[in-house]
């Protein structure tokens, strides 16, 4: 149970970056939360997806993503084809001042015996007719403690992009005791 939230680090971007990495993460908390309020320059009229990656390791990820667009015509769906999924973010076709709001919860990150599960809860406002909501249940099948987290790989179709100025990322440590 999350009894305390402590800000470990915050990063507000003053220039565009393809990747945002939190390194040397203290191993003194129970869980981690990474909150993003971000925008991107990926070429799309909607939003681009991005990945989360731990310790610089690119393998042993799996997950299921649920997606809904209550204002649009697309049927809600789920898929397993995005194993490192960390959320989606408005692209160059969205209103410039509309960020996503993405909450990533990483459980038991410092364990050296268990795999690491994380959930994603993301919403994007486009200021038009749609509101995109995504939920993700993911697993990194690796028992190493998480010491770094990278958010990267924004893409929409084959287009790639970067996080742009004023995107904001905050890493919180969660303790189960006060």
């Amino acid at each position: 149970m999350a009894l305390t939230y402590t800000i470990i680090e915050n990063q507000a971007l003053t220039s565009s970056h393809a990747t945002v990495t939190f390194s040397s993460i203290p191993q003194t908390y129970t869980d981690l939360v990474l909150f993003a309020s971000a925008m991107s320059n990926v070429s799309t009229s909607l939003a681009g997806n991005y990945n989360i990656e731990f310790n610089g390791v690119t393998s042993s990820y799996s997950g299921r993503r649920l997606y809904a667009d209550p204002g649009g015509t697309q049927t809600p769906y789920s898929d397993t084809g995005t194993p490192k999924w960390g959320g989606f973010v408005p692209g160059s076709g969205a209103a410039a001042d509309v960020p996503n709001s993405c909450f990533i919860y990483i459980a038991n990150y410092s364990s050296n015996t268990q795999y690491k599960a994380w959930s994603v809860d993301v919403v994007v406002e486009t200021n038009t007719t749609s509101g995109y909501l995504g939920l993700g249940a993911n697993l990194w099948s690796n028992t190493n403690p998480i010491t770094s987290i990278a958010i990267s790989g924004i893409s929409s179709g084959a287009n790639t992009g970067s996080f742009i100025v004023d995107s904001n990322f905050t890493l919180y440590g969660i303790k189960d005791t006060v």
């Binding site: 470990i8 990063q11 970056h17 203290p26 769906y77 898929d79 995005t82 490192k84 790989g153 893409s155």
Partner: protein, 77 residues
Amino acid sequence: MSEALTKVVINCTTGERQVLALTAEEIAQREADAAAFAVAEAERIAAAEAVAAAKASGIAKLLALGLTEAEANALAK
């Protein structure tokens, strides 16, 4: 001119911030991730279209059997 690809690295122990150029391996991974997203999206769309087509075909066959449109749509849900 193409965008210079960089990463910002925040050291959570010291608070130090570094801006670094992406390595060739990181750029390759970025391209691979985009390709994987594109493939996953194409597969999802194809599967959704196949389901929609099968549903439409099923409804047409139910209508041919004499069911009303409301009855056929109810069965196809």
